[in-house]
Subunit: 167 residues, 2 copies
Amino acid sequence: MNDVRWLDEREARAWRGLQALQLKLTARLSRDLAADSELSYPDYAVLVVLTDQPDGRLRPFELGRELGWEKSRLSHHVSRMVERGLVTRESCPSDHRGAFVVVTERGRLAIEAAAPGHVSAVRRHFIDHLTADQLDALAEITDRVLGGLDEAAAPGHTTIARGGTSA
Amino acid sequence: MNDVRWLDEREARAWRGLQALQLKLTARLSRDLAADSELSYPDYAVLVVLTDQPDGRLRPFELGRELGWEKSRLSHHVSRMVERGLVTRESCPSDHRGAFVVVTERGRLAIEAAAPGHVSAVRRHFIDHLTADQLDALAEITDRVLGGLDEAAAPGHTTIARGGTSA
């Protein structure tokens, strides 16, 4: 680790920009969502993932992987959503892989009510500031990086596997 | 809200791409960081913000704003970092704005130890997949969106203030 290549100015600008964008755009969309709906941004993220499933349910580890959340964060957050009736936990006695997290009817109604305002906010704070060329460039950039991540995660890839216990 | 303009294909591709990038790149960097250091990605994020302060301390609400985290998430996470000796809470009897979160010497050593590996991972999973033009395009995109967010947040801006209690 002694020959680390620290980021040069161009690289640091792009990386810092992406991090700041992630942080500030998420913070802004979170505030708008909280003001316009009964959902927080993490609530919304959980409900998007669950309502994308044909049966509205996922195991916690799958949900955590989709959201990119640590186990403890997921557990705390799901508990709060259970208290508010947005999701339920359903145990699965037939195997040992733990309970499912399941979206409730109330959760479905909440995300349906929140979605139009959220999309307007995404447009107002993100889409509307960019040209068509910039939107295409961003999509290309994200495809490239995501392609690299998929390749690195593929079984049999020759780089050293680092830490993941992904299923 | 009846005349919502849902995202068209180009817009949706860019937005979904950014969200997937955010999620999967963070997940990957988190795994690498956990494998190579004693810090989780959220630990690292907290320590970056604190060590960027001249005196290594921030009030919880400031720290939460910098990180874009909800209060409950911040509180849970800081408690775990306190248990591990990476930060401390210092109360401030002279005013009512609550305790500070302060990086410890152990926290400083932990982020210094983790940084070289983390930068290598950022390069491997992100920077190395992009051309110089793409890095510049991304920096330009993030500047545009961040500029819009700053403008929307500026006092006296004529759009309707939405929900924020930002200081």
